[in-house]
Structures are given as structure tokens and as C-alpha cells.
């Protein structure tokens, strides 16, 4: 099939260094991947095109790049699955990391975030003579997160990293969960306290970009949610994030429906009264504009609330 690869390139040796777009027209087979196409470009059309690849089988995690606006492994993306009717595929380097040349990004910030969460087992006591063992049952639930190949695809499309480079990011948080949930690790509470700090587990927006783009089904955001649940269960110091979840759940338990004003007041509380006062102009403007339901700002419990409350009780007993 006739294919056009529209590649965002970057020349670091130009004076000044510059980015530009270059189109390559080539024939591809239905079975070929975007990586096959790029290699064909390099071998037959332009040997100056820089890209990173190795295994060509979605194992090494080297060929992460953005294809038609979403990060993916080029070796796992068939041309036929992403080419629109005119056959033009947009290819660009991963986002949220510096570009070295063309499609090659600098992974140093990525690895720095991974190191930040101490990605090694920290068991108690003195080391055993052989391996640290765990039963298969205790480790099965970690098999998904252990499939991570550190390709950086989730980091590329993270919506928080777009606006805040201090966020530890989805790959590092998924890796952190892998150790928090490992029954052999003794640093759980210390890890959760570290992740509880600004830039940690509470800064994720729950946008699900990382779940959507991950080529190995790691579902980093689900791991971040599990970290939050573990943090609340371990009673690490409360944050606006944990109080928001606790208060939200409590309101649903008592009313079945959310009271937004009550959620804000109880989440911020006296500890963050300044934040609450900061919302007053917006609230007053909303009232002035009539953005208040006819029944008033607070809801009555929904009809049949006792069913909801019994479900809460039954779930608590069961857990």
C-alpha cells in the first residue's frame, strides 16, 4: 500500500538547532509495522533519520514514539491499523522528555524518576542464604505490573507531566506499587509516606491516557489508585486528595448523591481554610448567576437511601 510517513524531525547540529517536518513516501505491506516503514526509510531513502529500536517484538521497549498523536511502540503498530484513507501517518518523538535527534528522546529524566521510588526490594532482617521467596499466590496479582518494559510511552502522554515536570509520573508510580504490594518488602509505610508528598500519587488526574497507550497492559493509573487506597488504609497523613476521597465516600453513604459544597468544606476544613476562602468569589458569582438548583445547594438523601447504607455496611463487614 502507498504510505506517507510524515516525520517530525529535530536537528541538534543546526545553528540554531531546529525542528521540522519531513515526508517520506514508500510502499508498505499489510503485515508491516510503522517501525518496518521507518527502517525502510533509513535504509533506502534517508540514512540521516535517527530512531531507536532493537528487538522489533515489543519486548525491549526502545521504539516508543507518537503515532497519529498517541504514544505507542512503533514495532507493535501495524501501518494498516493507523493509516487513514490517504495513507499519511504522523510520526513524532515521545512527549514530556527532551529530544536528542529526530525520534530519539533523552530517557535520563525517565530513569531519574524510576530511581526516585527506590525500585528494589527492601526486606526486613538479614539476608537469607538463598533467594527471598514468596508464594506464587502472593505474587500473582503483581504479574500485570511486572510486565512493564520501561518504554516511556505512558510518560509521553501523561497529562500532568505536560504541565508539571516535578510529577513522578505513571511509570515510576506503577513500579512503586510493584514494591508496595510485594509481601516480602518491609518498606511499605516509608514508601507510601514518600509517595504521599506533593508530586506523588495524589497528583494524577485519573485521565486514563496511560492505561490507553500502555503496550503491555500494565494499567499504570489503576496502580496509582491502588497506591491511594493502600495509603488511606495505612493511615498515612491525610492530604487534600485523601480527604476528598474519604469525604466523598461518606457523603454518598449518607445521602446517595453528592453535595458539592459539603465536599469542598469538609475536604479543606480548618487546616486549609485559605483555600476555602479562595473559592468564595467563584461561589458568590455562581449564586449571582443562578447556578444553584431550585431545591437549594444541599440535597436530601435519595429515596431508598437505606438500601445504599445497607450495601455500605455489608461491604465493610465483608472486607
Amino acid at each position: 500500500m502507498k504510505t506517507t510517513l510524515r516525520v517530525r524531525r529535530f536537528d541538534p547540529e543546526a545553528d540554531p538547532p531546529m525542528g521540522y517536518v519531513q515526508e517520506y513516501r514508500l510502499e508498505t505491506e499489510p503485515s508491516e509495522t510503522v517501525l518496518d516503514g521507518l527502517i525502510k526509510v533509513r535504509e533506502t531513502l534517508d540514512d540521516s533519520l535517527a530512531l531507536r529500536c532493537s528487538c522489533r517484538g515489543a519486548i525491549c521497549g526502545s521504539c516508543g514514539m507518537r503515532i497519529n498523536g498517541h504514544a505507542a511502540l512503533a514495532c507493535k503498530t501495524k501501518v494498516i491499523s493507523v493509516a487513514p484513507a490517504d495513507g499519511t501517518i504522523e510520526v513524532e518523538p515521545m512527549h514530556n522528555m527532551p529530544v536528542i535527534k529526530d525520534l530519539v528522546t533523552d530517557m535520563a529524566p525517565f530513569w531519574s524518576k524510576i530511581r526516585q521510588i527506590q525500585p528494589w526490594l527492601q526486606p526486613p532482617g538479614t539476608a537469607p542464604k538463598a533467594e527471598y521467596t514468596a508464594s506464587p499466590e502472593a505474587m500473582t496479582h503483581l504479574s500485570g505490573v511486572m510486565s512493564c518494559i520501561m518504554c516511556g510511552v505512558c510518560v509521553s502522554d501523561c497529562t500532568v507531566l505536560e504541565v508539571d515536570k516535578t510529577f513522578v509520573g505513571p511509570a515510576a508510580l506503577a513500579k512503586a506499587y510493584r514494591f508496595v504490594a510485594d509481601p516480602r518488602d518491609a518498606a511499605t509505610l516509608r514508601r507510601l509516606n514518600a509517595l504521599n508528598q506533593p508530586g506523588g500519587m495524589w497528583d494524577c488526574t485519573r485521565c486514563m491516557e496511560c492505561i490507553q497507550v500502555c503496550p503491555k497492559g500494565v494499567a499504570p493509573m489503576d496502580r496509582i489508585m491502588a497506591l491511594r487506597a493502600n495509603g488511606m488504609a495505612a493511615k498515612v497523613p491525610s492530604t487534600c486528595g485523601s480527604r476528598h476521597a474519604e469525604v466523598f465516600t461518606d457523603i454518598i453513604k449518607h445521602k446517595g448523591i453528592l453535595d458539592e459544597p459539603m465536599l469542598a468544606v469538609r475536604t479543606f476544613g480548618l487546616k486549609h481554610v485559605g483555600r476555602l476562602l479562595g473559592m468564595v468569589p467563584m461561589v458568590l458569582q455562581s449564586v449571582f448567576k443562578g447556578k444553584v438548583p431550585k431545591s437549594g445547594p444541599l440535597h436530601r438523601p435519595i429515596p431508598g437511601i437505606h438500601h445504599i447504607q445497607r450495601l455500605f455496611k455489608r461491604m465493610r463487614v465483608k472486607s
Binding site: 497529562t159 500532568v160 505536560e162 504541565v163 508539571d164 506533593p198 495524589w202 497528583d203 494524577c204 488526574t205 485519573r206 485521565c207 486514563m208 491516557e209 492505561i211 490507553q212 489508585m225 491511594r228 487506597a229 488511606m232 492530604t239 487534600c240 486528595g241 476528598h244 476521597a245 474519604e246 466523598f248 465516600t249 454518598i252 446517595g256 448523591i257 453528592l258 453535595d259 458539592e260 469542598a264 475536604t267 479543606f268 483555600r275 467563584m282 458569582q285 455562581s286 448567576k289 443562578g290 447556578k291 438548583p293 431550585k294 445547594p297 440535597h299 435519595i302 429515596p303 431508598g304 438500601h307 445504599i308 445497607r310 450495601l311 455500605f312 455489608r314 461491604m315 465483608k318 472486607s319
Partner: protein, 294 residues
Amino acid sequence: MTYAFFPGCVSKGACPELYQSVMQVYPKLGIDLNEMTTASCTGAGVLQEKDPKLGDVLNARTFALAEQQGLPIMTICSTCQGVMSQANHRLTTQPQYLQQVNGFLKDEGLAYRGTTTIKHFLWILLEDVGADTLRQHITRPLTGLRAAPFYGCYIQRPTEALGIDDHPDRGKSLERIIEILGAEVVDFPGKTRCCGFPILTINEKNSLTMVATHTRDAKTHGADIMVTPCPLCHLNLDGMQSKAANQEKTAIDLPILHLPQLLGLAMGLDAKSLGLTRHLISPESVLAQATLAL
């Protein structure tokens, strides 16, 4: 077409104009709604941070209530839609899990068999009402109005649970509606990104940066207004836009419309009856320019 209507907490709370506008447009489209007054909040992904299974049990109860009526559920909120779609996907693809969840519902006299479908009003307009019928109801095409779509994360991802893998048109449904209503689609990079609302209480600075980035980008690309099927996005993009503009030391002033409000305008409905006077960023001057005066 009759649906079990799940309005969601925000249309009953901080965005009453959304509920108001849906009530204006749906009867004219051949839709009947049976409002689910006894259904609980979906958890919005927040309750699930504390206890994901509790979220699935509460949503399974809602699905079972709709199943008893033999009706599909209609949502008007991207977040409600996404949370329910994900819960339904887990329940219908894992029989043992469904059995376990039904164990909690049993004493309430309920059991979910896994037959309920959940559809956002946005999808219903295209898949059930249909583009041709919709066109017949348009008495005032929005010619000249440039509208930027903003979906909300939960109605875009994950695509498998939302049925987008099976119905690829859902991924572009908002653009399609804008075109049908006669307005011009303004494409911009942020249309499927996060509005920042979920972290407003946690990291206000980042949240406001997201608001400013998306609204400013849309405007730079030529948008007169932005339209969203998600009231939570609306709360941030409209309610926090002035503060976001101050934070970024810029002026934005981009009106954000709920999907049924844009539809209602094209159907010739009075702007005030659609709740368009209740927005913090007034659409008055933009609509006047497009001869759609408030």
C-alpha cells in the same frame, strides 16, 4: 425510544443549567425518559480510590434497577458514562466477579444479569435518534459559529470499555454533532485531554494551568465557544477560567456550553430557557454576533 435517565449529581447540583437544557430538548426528539430517582452516585472515580469494589456494587445496583425496567440507561455526563461503562465492562466480562457482586445485592432483592446498556446523550443523538432525524429538528442552523469540542477523559478512554473499539464514530461524535448543527468545528490539540477538575482540590496550580492551556488553545485556533458533554469539565473550564487566566496572566473569556444547550440553540429554543444566562463566562456577546441573542 425510552431510557432510564441517570442525570448524575452535578446536573442536580452545581450545573443545574445542564439538567434544565436536557429537559428542554429531549421531548422534541422522540425520546422518553424515566428518571432513576433511587439510583446512587456512580462514585465518579473518587469513591473508587477508596474502595473500587464498593463502586462496582453501587453501579451494579443501578444497572439492575434499569434491567428490571427493561430500559437502557441514558447519561448526560462523561464521567458518569465512563465510570458506569468501566464497571459494566468488569461485570459483564468476569462471570465470577458478577456473581460475587450479586452476592451483595441479593438482600436488596436485586440481581444484575449483565444486560443493561449505558449510553451518553451524545451517542444517543447519533446512534438512536440519528443524523437525519436530528437535521429535521434544526430550525436555526448555527452557521458562522465556531465551536471547539471538549470531550472529558471518561468518554474517550479506555476505548474498549466505552465501546469505541466497536463504534469508532463515538471517538469523533462531538465533532459530528457540531457539523450537523451547522456550526464550524474548531480542532485543537487539547480536545481529548484532561480539564484538570479531578486535581482542583489537590493541586490547584496544575489544574488551572490545564484550564488555561485548553481554553486559550481553542481560542487561538479560532473558537467562539467550546462545547462539552461533561459537566465536571464545565465546572472547571467555565467556573475556574477567570482564575486560570489570572494565574497565567492572560485574558481568555471563552464561553463553555453544555452539549444540550448547543443543540437547543440549533433547535430554535430560547437561550434563557436553556440556562445560558447561568454561566460564569457569559456567552452573550458571542451568541449575539452569531445572531443567537440571549
